[in-house]
């Protein structure tokens, strides 16, 4: 169904000129990809694979050199579509410090809706709601620079939520966070997807963060190397190795057990599932 297709990349290439070699370099080459409403898509790839370019192409910050990107059927290369598209597609970047505009939490969250011309009372309501959704409501009057990395990133997410987008693209939002901050942010993102039906495109190089996704897309050398359920993608060990990626830890343990003759299913990707499988084995013996 066409209406369910939120983002469509139609044979998209993105090139830039390398300053040193003065050659045209393809960051993305002939990429076709469709993200459907309500999906949780994780985009994996090592550094320089082109995965971050994908984020900036999705809300017309970058325009494709070849091909087209459509958001809800709107062409990103049409100037008039710029604002409707950015309203539909929120983007959260890697460095929380560089996307917070105001010094006070609630004033930063209000920045987006203020730009959209939302009436003051409605802004207040949206800001409170967004802050509650990321568990930062109690911090609404705090100074942004005093927050931890995870808290800052949650404020950045709230800033996007207050604009009421249909989809949020996360461009390595956890890369600069400590493990605690990473857990907090992951938990919030999963909750947004599960409870509010927010479409999530999550770009990362942490394999562990991909196991809960509906769909995993592997980007390598500016192209898509794999696209499917986490179980099927992580089963293809050769392809992962070719893309310079490791199998998630738990999947690796399961694989090693399996190759030693234990009956551990290939669908095991999470700690809980692994514990279950091992307990079942222990029960049998």
């Amino acid at each position: 169904m066409m209406t369910e297709d939120l983002i469509v990349f139609d044979h998209v290439s993105y090139t830039y000129d390398d300053e040193e070699t003065e050659k045209t370099v393809y960051a993305l080459k002939d990429v076709s990809l469709t993200v459907r409403q309500g999906e949780f898509v994780v985009v994996l790839g090592h550094n320089g694979s082109g995965k971050s370019t994908l984020a900036k192409l999705s809300n017309s910050i970058f325009l494709p050199s070849e091909g087209k990107v459509f958001v809800r059927g709107m062409d990103t290369s049409v100037t008039e579509n710029e604002f409707p598209i950015r309203k539909t597609m929120g983007v959260v970047f890697q460095n929380p410090d560089n996307q917070i505009v105001a010094s006070i939490v609630e004033e930063d969250v209000a920045f987006g809706p203020e730009n959209l011309g939302v009436p003051p009372k409605e802004i207040r309501r949206r800001v409170d709601e967004a802050l509650k959704a990321v568990d930062m409501y109690d911090y609404r009057m705090h100074e942004t620079h005093r927050l931890s990395g995870g808290q800052k990133q949650r404020v950045a997410i709230a800033g996007m939520l207050a604009m009421q987008p249909e989809c949020i693209v996360f461009d390595e939002p956890t890369a600069m966070l400590d493990p605690k901050g990473r857990r907090e942010v992951m938990q919030i993102i999963r909750r947004l997807n599960k409870e509010q039906g927010m479409t999530v495109v999550f770009i990362t190089h942490y394999m562990e963060e991909a196991v809960h996704a509906d769909r995993v897309v592997i980007v390598n050398d500016g192209g898509i190397a794999a696209d499917g359920s986490p179980v099927s993608v992580f089963a293809d060990r050769e392809m992962l190795a070719r893309c310079g990626l490791n199998v998630p830890e738990i999947a690796e343990v399961a694989y090693q057990l399996r190759s030693r003759g234990f009956d551990v299913p290939g669908s095991v990707l999470t700690e809980e599932a692994l514990v279950d499988a091992v307990l079942r084995l222990a029960g049998k013996n």
Binding site: K56, N59, I61, F83, R86, K87, G90, V91, F93, N95, D97, N98, Q99, I100, V101, A102, S103, I104, E106, E107, A110, F111, G112, P113, E114, N115, L116, G117, V118, P119, P120, I123, R124, V127, M141, H142, E143, T144, H145, G159, M160, M163
Partner: protein, 281 residues
């Protein structure tokens, strides 16, 4: 290191001062400063100081914070006071250490030293309350509104206020980064604290170059982030907090007017000679 900067910081709260319209606060503060310079005798000076202290009490901002702010300007106060004592040779000579020198400590000199010190303390007390009780965004919004007549001269007031907002937002971030760079360079053996002035100035180059590079990178990323949040200048932009003058603000204006009137009367009107306080400056 440069960590405990309290000037320009904001302390959220619900006091009378916090709830005043930021535009009213700016105007009242400007008025207070002008009055402070109109004031000519100790009576009106103490009145102004009392008002400053009363305002601190009303704002419910802890005195520890206030004192910390004052400590930073202690040097300026001491310097000003010393200058007055050394160079003001009017009045009766109290002490002349070397008869051949022109230098002498006079009663007038001491008076004016004390007078100026109190004046600076009152100035800092009152004006720092403005930033202590107003969030940076509200402050810059208020400046934008107050400067809006300049739009007639085609000055982009909104851009100015946005720049101020971002500058205030990034000051702590850049200070933090500066400290990290200093530590990093020190750990590589950079010597920042010894040698001639020129040598120390040169040692600052490897500190400021990375800081500038990083500031530009931040600006670049922030521009993307602002684009993503549909920032399009002033066009079609609304505000979460509406600025509206209320009864509270009129009370503030009235108090401010009464204070100025009292100071002017006691300083300039001959009637006030009934006060025993002499004009010192």
């Amino acid at each position: 290191m440069i960590r405990d900067i309290t000037i320009g910081q904001y302390f959220p709260g619900n006091s009378f001062l916090h709830l005043l319209d930021p535009r009213a606060k700016i105007l009242i503060t400007l008025f207070y400063i002008v009055t402070l310079f109109l004031c000519k005798n100790f009576f009106s000076l103490f009145l102004l100081l009392a008002v400053a202290i009363l305002s601190v009490l009303i704002s419910r901002i802890s005195f520890r914070v206030i004192l910390k702010g004052l400590r930073m300007i202690l040097l300026i106060i001491l310097f000003t006071a010393a200058l007055q004592i050394f160079y003001n040779s009017k009045g009766t000579v109290l002490w002349k250490p070397v008869p051949a020198w022109k230098f002498a400590v006079t009663d007038q000199g001491i008076f004016s030293a004390v007078f100026l010190s109190i004046r600076i303390v009152a100035l800092i007390l009152f004006s720092s309350l403005l930033t202590y009780t107003t969030s940076p965004t509200q402050l810059t919004d208020a400046i934008e509104r107050l400067l809006s007549p300049l739009k007639l001269l085609r000055v982009n007031v909104h851009a100015l206020s946005m720049m101020m907002t971002i500058a205030l937002r990034f000051i702590p971030t850049l200070i933090e980064e500066l400290n990290i760079i200093i530590s990093a360079q020190k750990s590589r053996g950079a010597d920042l604290d010894s040698g001639s002035l020129l040598k120390r100035a040169k040692a600052l180059v490897p500190i400021f170059v990375p800081l500038f590079v990083s500031a530009f990178r931040r600006a670049y990323e922030l521009a993307f982030a602002m684009d993503c949040r549909c920032y399009n200048g002033e066009k079609g932009r609304t505000r979460m907090k509406i600025m509206k003058l209320g009864p509270r603000d009129y009370v503030g204006f009235a108090a401010s007017a009464i204070l100025t009137a009292a100071v002017v009367v006691t300083s300039y009107v001959p009637l006030s000679s009934i006060f025993i306080f002499e004009s010192v400056i």
